[in-house]
């Protein structure tokens, strides 16, 4: 088991180091997210009360788009350097590679959320009327849900035409329960009108189911590509 953990850590460290040097993904995601926030702010100009109701949806759609930008480049480096072929013939467990990619994407998207959230608070005059401490929990669980399936579908899309479209096409329908949960939970916490507990439990269940499924089936997908 230490083999998987060690390999995961090493791969993750390598990815983060490479990303820190080039800042490819982060820069493009950042600018894209900024654009999304500004455009949404132009299109909707709600009152403070209305904005608390709809902010959940707006924020998560923006995060979703940003996540897709991150996910699309997940395997780009590996594709360029034939790393996947090397992985296929090595005895290294494929789950380590997968986990490293998922955690890397999770970190990227979380950084993005941390940068975008103040902007949203400013543009929409947001203030949580419910238990604000639940928001990071929702954010973490929701981001994991998007990122674990997204990384998996990104790997499945590697040998398809229109790869960049294939990923959201596969990801969005499957993510619907998670998206509904994220949006509803955020709305519940901001408006304080009802409890987000059920949605948080649903998100956790979603994360567990699809993390296990992805870990179980990633080996097959890696072989297939």
């Amino acid at each position: 088991m230490s083999g998987v953990a060690g390999l995961t850590r090493a791969t993750l460290a390598k990815d983060l180091r490479l990303e820190w040097r080039s800042k490819d993904a982060i820069n493009s995601m950042l600018f894209f997210s900024l654009l999304v926030v500004v455009i949404f702010s132009f299109s909707f100009d709600p009152t403070a009360e209305e904005s608390r109701r709809i902010a959940g949806g707006l924020v998560w759609v923006a995060f979703l788009f940003a996540a897709v930008v991150a996910l699309n480049q997940t395997w780009a480096r590996e594709m360029r350097n034939q790393v996947l072929d090397a992985y296929r013939v090595s005895p290294a467990p494929p789950n380590a590679l997968f986990l490293a990619k998922v955690i890397g994407n999770f970190i990227f998207v979380t950084i993005l959320q941390a940068l975008m959230t103040p902007l949203f608070i400013v543009f929409y005059n947001l203030r949580a009327l419910g238990p604000a401490y639940q928001l990071p929990i929702v954010a973490a669980l929701g981001t994991w849900a998007l990122v674990v399936n997204g990384t998996f579908f990104a790997a499945m899309s590697l040998r398809t035409r229109s790869r960049e479209i294939m990923l959201p096409l596969l990801l969005f329908p499957i993510s619907i329960p998670a998206l509904l949960a994220m949006v509803e939970a955020t709305g519940a916490i901001l408006t304080g009108e009802f409890s987000a507990k059920f949605w948080i439990v649903l998100l956790a269940a979603y994360d567990v189911v699809f993390t296990i499924a992805s870990l179980f089936l990633f080996g097959l997908v890696l072989q297939a590509e």
Binding site: S162, M166, P173, I176, P177, L180, F194, W199, L217, E225
Partner: protein, 233 residues
């Protein structure tokens, strides 16, 4: 086997005609909704048929993942396509029924939303199969089918809770059915199931032919350069 097809096609045609007669003429007119309610006899069997086809797809996908059986893969492909067709019918007849009766085209209630999500998942399944150029497309598709199946209960619970939080009138409401209505419903379901089976069978045969030809062409391409080289030298 080949002679059975035209006979079954004719029988199915007769059954479908009888079913339509049942739905439009024999079944009694509904009290509150009037004749528009007869859409029900097409709307509901389409949903049942689609769900059964998707269930077969799930089983076939699992069989493929375990055994790598080509027939299982073709069955998965076929049931997905025909399932989407029936699901589309359901999603189109639903709003057409809802509009005159309840005044709205659409509502995010449990049944409709679940059907829409299933439709989306299976359309993405079909797109994956068409766009994937990997030799392992059947495997990827089977994996997607498993993911989709895992998603369904989660979709169900999420929408169910959403509806308890934001309640709305239920469309296509319950209420008991006159036995003649049940009869018309079952007949239509039977007719459409036979129709679905025939369409699946046709699509299956088409796929078998397509794959045979592709294999033969691939073989030809393999043998071709060698034989032409031998002739020229």
């Amino acid at each position: 086997m080949k002679r059975a097809f035209p006979i079954l096609a004719v029988l199915t045609g007769v059954l479908l005609s009888y079913a339509m007669y049942q739905a439009l003429v024999v079944a009694p007119t509904e009290q509150t909704m009037g004749d528009v309610q007869r859409i029900f006899y097409y709307h509901v069997p389409s949903a049942w048929t689609a769900f059964i086809l998707f269930a077969i797809n799930f089983v076939a996908s699992i069989v493929y993942l375990i055994q790598r059986n080509a027939k299982a893969d073709m069955l998965a492909l076929v049931t997905a396509e025909v399932g989407v067709v029936f699901c589309t019918v359901n999603l189109v007849t639903g709003p057409i029924w809802a509009r005159p009766v309840w005044g709205i085209w659409w509502t995010w209630d449990l049944r409709l939303t679940l059907t829409l999500v299933l439709w989306l998942i299976y359309v993405s399944y079909i797109v994956l199969r068409r766009f994937s150029s990997s030799g392992q497309t059947p495997l990827l598709a089977a994996v997607l089918a498993v993911f989709g199946a895992l998603d369904v209960p989660l979709v169900y619970f999420s929408i169910w809770f959403f509806r308890t939080q934001h309640p709305q009138p239920v469309i296509g409401g319950g209420g008991s059915l006159d036995p003649r209505m049940w009869h018309a419903l079952w007949i239509n379901w039977l007719a459409f199931s036979c129709f679905a089976a025939l369409v699946c069978w046709s699509r299956f045969r088409l796929e078998v032919l397509r794959r045979d030809l592709d294999e033969t062409l691939a073989l030809e391409a393999l043998l071709e350069p060698r034989s032409s080289k031998a002739r020229s030298s």
